[in-house]
């Protein structure tokens, strides 16, 4: 098992290297450079200042020098300096990450628990009444973009019922109830999205597994239905589900961008949008890398969970 994890870790390092190169490469395509951005309309008139600023920002170096300089910084935990905020990026990212995790983690936990139950219940009687109801609900869930479901939740629970605030303005130091109230709608929006995907895959893999000879063997051993279902079948049906959960973490990270925008929530996603609007290249580069790295780690965890569930892929 240790061997397996080490292998995956080394693969992760390689992937991260590739990701950083890709981000760096794409950003090189940007018309104009950071110096032009900072000077804005001034840049045409003040050629000298421009040159000076380029040198100060290190933009006169060859691209590979810039890249390795940046990489060296990352390895030491220094993600560079934001142009728009004129501040080091690392602490900003850390703070925003904290906020985003407060959204994503509860949403993921809720989604996984609810969807496993729904998936198994639906698969017990394929095409039964319960199954049809669940299918219709999940179909709705995967078809509604986060900004629509968010808007509807705001309309119902903030505008009409007035139970929750429509924007999550955060004041540090408040108690759990305050946070719960602030986060209820954004978390619900994220949950709905992940829930639908995971339920659908759990249902279909459970239906497949229930047809296998080994489930029949378990049944004909005289085991109670409960044991056949939750021990013999679910354990194997979880395998594709784990992959989809990992995939959903990625989708959720994208969803976070939208949800944070909908609720004006100061997380990683809104930071990315801010960087795009401000054309803040160092900040965009760092936050993109950060999100992609987080997704890779989630995938790594999913791989490990997969290996724990399926003895066949342990080396």
């Amino acid at each position: 098992m240790l061997h397996f994890i080490l292998r995956r870790l080394s693969l992760l390092a390689l992937t991260l290297l590739g990701i950083s190169l890709l981000i760096f490469g794409i950003l090189q395509l940007l018309p104009g450079d950071a110096a032009t951005q900072i000077l804005g309309a001034w840049s045409e008139r003040s050629g000298k200042t421009h040159e000076y600023l380029r040198a100060a920002l290190g933009l006169d170096r060859a691209w590979y020098e810039q890249y390795f300089g940046w990489l060296w910084g990352v390895l030491q935990g220094d993600l560079g300096r934001s142009l728009a905020m004129d501040a080091p990026i690392t602490p900003i990212l850390m703070e925003r990450l904290g906020y985003s995790l407060r959204l994503a983690v509860p949403a993921l936990i809720l989604a996984v628990i609810i969807s496993l139950v729904l998936g198994v219940v639906a698969a017990m009687r394929p095409n039964g009444l319960v199954d049809h109801a669940i299918t219709v609900l999940t179909l709705g869930g995967v078809s509604v973009p986060a900004f629509v479901s968010g808007a509807i939740l705001i309309l119902v629970f903030a505008a009409w019922l007035g139970w929750f605030p429509s924007t999550a303005s955060l004041t540090p130091g408040e108690g759990f109830l305050y946070w719960a109230k602030m986060l209820a709608l954004p978390v619900a929006t994220l949950t709905v999205e992940a829930l639908a995907h995971i339920t659908r895959i759990t249902r279909s893999s459970m239906i497949e597994v229930l047809k296998t000879p080994y489930v029949r063997t378990a049944r004909l051993k005289g085991l109670p239905v409960r044991v056949v279902l939750f021990k013999h079948a679910l354990r194997n049906a979880m395998l594709p589900t784990v992959t989809v959960i990992a995939f959903n973490i990625g989708w959720m990270l994208g969803g976070v961008v939208v949800v944070e925008q909908v609720f004006s929530y100061p997380g990683l996603g809104s930071l990315v949008l801010f960087a795009i609007e401000q054309r803040d290249v160092p900040l965009l580069q760092a936050s993109m890398f950060f999100v992609a790295a987080g997704y890779c780690v989630a995938n790594l965890l999913a791989d490990i969970a997969y290996a724990l569930l399926d003895p066949r892929i342990r080396y």
Binding site: V148, A151, I152, P213, G250, V257, M288
Partner: protein, 293 residues
Amino acid sequence: MATHSAGPAAPHAAGERRVTPPRRIPTTLVLGGVIVGVFVVLAVIGPHITPYGFDKFHFSSRLAGPSAEFWLGTDRYGRDIFSRVIAGARLTLIMAASGTFIGVVAGVLIGLVSGYLGGWIDEVLMRLTDITMSFPSLLLALLVVAVLGANEVNAVISIGLVFTPRVARVVRSATLGVRHIQFVEAAEVRGESNPYVIFREILPNVWPPIIVETCIRMSYAVLLVVSLSYLGLGAQPPAPDWGLMISKERAFIASAPWVVLAPAAAIVALVVGVNLLGDGMREWLSARKTSDE
């Protein structure tokens, strides 16, 4: 003797010419087809049947509620929302379909080549797809649009780029499933060229997963298009894009919910339609497979 894996397999019709039994087309497929069909019709003839031009201002009746005059109400400039929603179908469908098309064509080519040739080509292509897939899809699309500039064409390109590795993965695994089946080896023994084996022997047998994947991608494409527009990185004002409409008008959601609900309903209806089409297609194609065996 044929060994069936699950004990007494359902028998097939023997004795007479094994005509494929008349397949029932799944209800989901019909329903999805109808919904998508309606949107396609709207996209084609939409601008000719709308009561008003989608960008015509009616300053006297801003944020008016639904009425006989304005079926779905008006927005803050007094533009007729019904006309805008109808006109938006064309833009959304074209953007989603072109993005999907780019992604599927590129993905199918990469998947076939990677899966059939294997070796270092496969290794390199798959590492590349791994890296692109390490970005959550919306974020990669955002990055590409941020660099290329926010407009419709770049949104389409970014969607194509996001989809390519995902389609490639699916097609590659389907190809691997067929690659070592004996009819492919029979072609290799004849000394057939790589293009012949890939396009004449393998491709016809991996159509079903490609079709299903295309439907899945199409539904994600619609979601991506409207999300990008919502974030201000897709279609630009005054285009009647559904995501853009929700983003620009959502401040009025409490007083005039129709400004958000009408385009939202259009989005959900279209995506539900595409998803039904995909589910139905999957069911239909797998039923065909089992009846063939």
